[in-house]
Each structure stands twice: as C-alpha cells, then as structure tokens.
C-alpha cells in the first residue's frame, strides 16, 4: 500500500514522459557519445525548439539561441531572417509550452528540484528578479553580437559567458570521451568560469524551482512574448474565474495570472481550479458534455456547432450518452494517432542518425606509423625517406594544393604545402565565425613578419562552400601581411591533418616537412615563438654538424 502510495505520488506524469521523449529526440545522435563526434549532417540546419547545445555529441539539430546569436553576428553580411522566422513560428505555435514540455534543460532542472530539501518559494521579489532574463536577452543575445558584427567579429555572448547547457551537454559530453583527450589542453579561464557558473546553477536548481528558466533563460523570455497569442498552451475562461488564487498558489513559476508571459503551460493548475475555468487551448473538441456544464461542441475540425443539453428527458439522456461515447472514441483515436506518430518519428530519428546517416565525418587517414624522430621534430635528410606521411608529431606532414587569397581579397595562386621545405611551415586552420581563431591571427601575423626569411605562415580558412570565402574580411583586416591566406572548401585538408570539427588547429613542420607541433585550440604568441626558435636552433646545430 505504501509502495502504491509512493508510486502514485512519484510516477512519471504525461508531461514528464513527453519531456523525456523530447530530450531523446533532440539528442538522437547517440553514436556521438560513443565516438566523441558531433553530428555534422544536413539536418542540423533545423533548430530544435528548446535549449539544446549543438556542440553536444548527441544533438540532432541546432540550438535556436546559438543560431540567433550567430545570425545576428553575421548580420553585416546577411539579414538573420531564417532564425528569426523559426523562432517566431515556434513561439506562435507553442509559446512557452516548449519550456514546459520540450526543453531538455528544463527537464534537468525539474529533476534536480525533486531532491527532497527545503525549497525557496516564489514571492514578490522573485517576480521582480524574473525580469532579469529580458535584460540578458537584450544585452547578451542582441546588443553584444550586433555590436561585434559591426567589426565582423562573431560573438555568441550568451553561449560563451553564461549558457550552462553548453557546459553540461557540450563540454561534459565531449570531454567525458577518451577520444577527445586532446581537448583538455584547450581548457582555461573561460572553462573555469563556465564550470563555476554551471555548479552554481545546478545547486540553485535543487532549492529554487527552474532557477535558470525563471531568471536567466533568454529563450524563455522570447517565447514568453508569444504566450498570449500562441495556438497551444493554457487558457483561462474569465467568466468562470472567481479569482480565488489557487492556480497562482499551485504554480511554481512567477505568474500573476494563468497564461501570462511567465506561464510555462505545464497544466498543473488545471486540476486545482474549483470552477474548471482553466483548460488547454483547443480542448473543446475533446471535452465531455458534462465538463462544459450544459454545452457541447460538436465535430470540431473547422466549425463548431453548439447544442444545449435539454432537460433530463429519456431521449435527451440517451443522445448525450451517445455524444459522450463519440467524444471518448475521438479522444482515444487522436491519442493513439499522436502516440503512434511520435513513436514512428523517434524510431526513425534514432535509426537515421545512428545507422543510416553518412554525414560527412572527417575522413581521417589511418593512424600512420610514427617515423624516425617521433616527438622530437624530425631528423636529417637521410631519415626523411623512412618517415611516413601523417599528421602526428614526428611524421611528414600530408601535403595538399591550397588556393590562396591575396591582399586585395581575391583568389590568387595555388600553394603546395610540400614545396616549402627548407623553411619552417606554420599551418593554421581558422574560421571567420570563430572568435578564438580571429583572436590569435595577430600572433601568426607577427611571427610571419619577424621570421620572414625562415618561416612560411599559411592561415587556411574553413569553408562550407565557395561562397563562404571571406574575401572582404581579409582585405579589410590584413591587406598587407607576410602571412599567406588560403581556403579549404569542405574541410578536406583539415580532416586530412586530423581535424575533428573544432577550431582553431595549428601544425608546425620543420624545414624537412616533419611535424614538430600539433595543437587543437588557441595558441599563444610565446608558444609559437618557442616552437619556431626550437626548430631553428635544431636546424642550425644540424647544419653545423
């Protein structure tokens, strides 16, 4: 009996099941957790409705908030219609029902809140504090990316400095895989700040219901603007409402009344309303006659026809029973169809992402045998014949023909990376959409000018298509430079040199083309200088001998 009572109190509700379903659907790329890679297929141009970091190995779609910031960051080249259109349609269709039912991070917060500790209840001050998320929306999601876009520097400010979903789903998801050990070298002050923030959010969520949702989530702030007009969610039948306040008391969000911009349409208030004034929008087609209190809606696709129940005459009782049966059958049919379609969608997604999809993963060559001089920067010319081509330290760097971009911002000649033996070659992979990449380009520029005679620097831009080549950007910021700018459509050379979807990446090869340094993530000027000086010193001592 006690177990039954406990189960009745704690069994997963329909809402919880939908949340779990949505979390699985939006992270259907389960093989990503195993191979430590993110999904890179074409379906990632679709934004998921809730907060789900696209750097999570399991993510099957793009995060709308990250996409919005990046679109605003690129608004100097094209207007962000696509992302704004998607958010408007999600908001209009579902409003903050997304927060209550579809957001994976909302689910995580609710599960944390179930830990049985004393809880901080909402009050007038938490309601005032709930406006903070609008400040975060305006500052971090709109103003900062736009201001940076004026200088053509991308900055997803909210993702970079605040978002705990990125740290939890993206960073923890990737770093927990042994195959991504090299990413640990990229951790620094930013990760420390984000990890601290994540721990604070997690602990706060135990005591405060949906702490992040209520006070910090800009996506919830955006969707909340649509709550009054959205097609789906909670509605209040004002003539029936007696303003008893039970719904507001039951609700754990900072609502003033049901259905306002703070309401996440979880539906918990429906059962406590004594006059049944609260219902789901669009529910009239399913309500049984007695629940409408004397009125019923008949055949609810496009038109409704209201019939009033008459007195308790036998023939009217019989017809109302028939109508009730009809509605029960309809409800069952709609539920069964919805469950079947959802199951088909989920199974299809799981099969597609994990078995069928051949998304262009990095076609990395097999791990080559490490040749002579493993880890020490390569040997003399008599050793080079024994050295295999590869991308690891000690191997001879794979060569390729790289199209160059000249200082006027146009395509120039082709450079073969093998033709620069005799000089130290620094190859840096970067992207105009990648702030750390842009931050470190000046270091390469400095090295290129300081070691003009002995070093060749090649900065290769990652392009998805030919249209992504940043001619204007290079012409504006590096019109006169000793660096060579190249581009790599489809990341073919990047993959060949062991790149696994994360930028920037730097390789340094000595005069014999042997890889002496391979670094994923930002590199400082001092590290570059040390590697170059070391290679020059070895080559000088080799020449003396």
């Amino acid at each position: 009996m006690k177990i039954k009572q406990w189960w009745d109190n704690h069994k997963p509700s329909k809402r919880r099941l939908i949340q779990l379903y949505a979390a699985l659907l939006f992270n259907a790329n389960l093989k990503g957790f195993g191979n430590g890679r993110i999904y890179t297929g074409p379906l990632k141009n679709i934004c998921t409705p809730g907060l789900n970091c696209y750097s999570c190995p399991g993510a099957s779609g793009a995060c709308p908030l990250g996409a919005l910031q990046n679109a605003l960051g690129a608004s100097n080249t094209r207007a962000p219609y696509y992302v704004i259109g998607i958010i408007m349609l999600y908001g209009l269709l579902l409003g903050r029902w997304i927060c209550g039912f579809l957001c994976p991070f909302g689910l995580i917060q609710e599960l944390l809140h179930k830990i049985p500790t004393p809880k901080l209840k909402k009050n007038r001050f938490t309601r005032v504090f709930s406006w903070l998320k609008y400040v975060i929306l305006v500052l971090f999601v709109v103003i900062l990316p736009l201001m940076y876009a004026l200088r053509k520097v991308p900055l997803p400010a909210f993702c970079k400095y605040i978002c705990p979903a990125g740290t939890l789903e993206g960073a923890m998801g990737l770093l927990s895989n042994k195959l991504n050990e090299d990413m640990l070298g990229m951790l620094g002050p930013l990760f420390t700040w984000k990890f601290l923030l994540l721990v604070c959010f997690v602990v706060a969520c135990v005591f405060i219901y949906r702490f992040f949702c209520r006070f910090f989530c800009p996506l919830g702030a955006l969707y909340g603007l649509f709550n009054r007009i959205c097609f789906f969610g909670i509605k209040l039948d004002k003539p029936r409402c007696t303003d008893c306040g039970l719904c507001v008391s039951k609700c754990k969000m900072d609502i003033r009344h049901v259905g306002d911009h703070e309401c996440i349409s979880c539906g918990e208030c429906i059962s406590v309303c004594p006059t049944k004034a609260i219902s789901w929008k669009g529910s009239k087609i399913f309500l049984a006659p007695d629940e409408l209190g004397g009125e019923i809606a008949v055949s609810g696709t496009d038109m409704t026809e209201k019939k009033e129940l008459g007195s308790s005459a036998k023939h009217e009782t019989a017809s109302s029973e028939a109508i009730e049966k009809k509605y029960a059958t309809r409800r069952l049919a709609v539920k069964a169809t919805a469950i079947a379609l959802s199951a088909v969608l989920l199974i299809s997604a799981l099969v597609y992402y994990n078995f069928i999809d051949k998304a262009p993963e990095a076609e990395q060559p097999d791990e080559p045998d490490i040749g002579v001089g493993e880890g020490d920067g390569g040997g003399g010319s008599e050793d080079s014949g024994q050295v295999r081509e590869g991308y690891r330290v000690g191997t001879k760097m794979y060569s390729a023909d790289i199209p160059l971009i000249n200082g006027s911002g146009e395509l120039g000649s082709i450079m073969n990376t093998a033709e620069h033996e005799g000089k130290i070659l620094i190859v840096n992979f970067w992207g105009i959409w990648c702030t750390p990449c842009i931050q470190e380009l000046p270091h390469f520029d400095r090295i290129a000018s300081e070691y003009k005679d002995s070093v060749t620097v090649l900065a290769i831009h990652s392009d998805y298509t030919d249209k992504d080549i940043p001619y204007d950007w290079i012409a504006e910021y590096y019109p006169e430079t000793d660096m060579n700018f190249g581009h790599d459509v489809g990341d073919s050379y990047y993959s060949k040199l062991g790149g696994r979807d994360s930028y920037p990446m730097t390789l340094i090869a000595d005069e014999n083309g042997i890889v002496i340094l391979r670094e994923t993530g930002s590199i400082t000027y001092e590290e570059l200088k040390a590697a170059v000086d070391s290679a020059l010193a070895k080559s000088a001592s080799g020449a003396e001998q």
Partner: protein, 290 residues
Amino acid sequence: MTEKKIELIKRICGIALSVLIVLTGICFITVCLKIYGSGSSPFTVESISRGFSSIAAVVWICVAAILLRGAFGLIFPDSEKKLRADKDDERTLRGLMARYTVKEGTDAAGEVNALRKKRGLIKLVTSIICVICALLPLPWALNTDRYTLEALTGNRVIIETVILVAAFTAVALAACAVAVVLMGRSRSRELAVIKAALASGDAVKLDPSVNQTEAAENAEARETAAEKGRASVLRAPKAVINWCSEHVGAVRIAVLAVGVVFLVLGTLNGGMGDVLHKAIKICTECIGLG
C-alpha cells in the same frame, strides 16, 4: 512513530541534505579553481583525476544521503497537503471592489483615492527609473569607435559593457523591489480602510443579481477613475495590450505571415546555410574550451 515525529525527521534530513549539497558544490568549485591555478595547461587527465578523487568521498556521501532520504520517503510517504491560496492583498482588494463600493464624499473614499494615486505615482516613477537605466548606457555601448579589432578580441569591451549594464540593471531592479514594497504597503492600507468602511457603514454592498446595470456602470466608473489616476504614459502600452487581446486572431495571422516570409527569405538568402555551417562545427568558446 507519530506524524509529527516523521515530519520533524524529514525536516532535519532535508536541512542536512541541503548542507551536504551546498558543500558538494563548494568542493567542486574549489577543485576546479585549484586545478586552474596549478600552472599553464593545467587541465590534464591526471590533474583532473587527482583533483576530483580528493572530493569523491563527499560526492558519494551526498549521493547516499539523497538515496536514503528517498528511501525514507518511500517508507513514510508525504501526506497530501490541502492547497490554500497565498495571501495576496491585490487579489483580496479586487474581490472586495467587485462586491462593495465606498460611498463618495466620505473620508474613506478620499483616502482610497489618495492611495490609488500614490500607487500610480510609484509605478510612474519606477517606470521612469527603468527607462533611464535602459537608455543611459546606450550612447556608451553603441559608440562604435570603441570597437576596434584589438579591443573586441581582447574581452575588454565585454567586461566594460557588462559592468556598466549590470550596474544600471541593479539600480533598476532595486527600484522595482522598493516599488513592490511600497505598493504592497499601500494595498494593505487600502484594504484596512475598506474593511473599516464596511464596518462603519461607509461602504455598501453591490448586488449584481438585482441591479446588474448599476453594478456594471459602477464597475465602469471605477475603471474610468482608475484610468484617470494612471498617467498617460502607462495607459498607452495597456491600450495596445488590450487591443491585441481583443484581436488575437488578427495578431496571430500577422505573426504567422511574417514568420513564414522570414523563413522563406532566410532560406533564399543563405541564412539556413549559416545555421548549418555553425552547427556542424564545435563551438569551442560556447562550451568553454578556451
């Protein structure tokens, strides 16, 4: 075991669990800071394993405590508590004014009107403070001369902007908090005045079943009086909201049309490709790798 004892044990367990959870959080933060402070390229498999194995005991104790508390909840399930509406003076006032009206010309009516005007003034002043706090940092933030490539990539711009906006946001939030307190006191006072008026006969009950027209007229008159008390700057947004509430269908169609047009335009101008291009690369700075 009596119910009171069970509740007491649950409360004590809850407090102990809270302390443990906070302690675990502090341990995680301390370990992370320690690893970060240990030198260049501090985060390695060894340093992370070493650091977090030192707090493993605390973590396991916390997990065990959660499970124990869960088991205790299984043996002694929580009893269902009757839901009561939270005390809300604003709602109580609304309810009273729907059923009663204060006689014009009485002291009570004068005081009620004065309290309402005071609340209107508080709202106006708070709104002005919030607007000023929103507008003041804008000229500085939107000064594009500050945004050189070096300044942008060096985080200085971010830090300055955030500090400035945080300061003004704190002022605005503080103003709102003070307004909430003052409005609450004003409502409590109005509630007390109305209750006193009811007791002394200065307020009469409205009987909507007998005199619906008069009740409706009175309600309309009260609304008009309240509107007059509201400053015009606050009336305009409310009018817009009311119009939108009355024409929900039209607003939905407009938003739907704009959304679809934007989606199509975005697909045609390459915005969809931008989303894909960014989503298929690991955003290292988004996940803190940097």
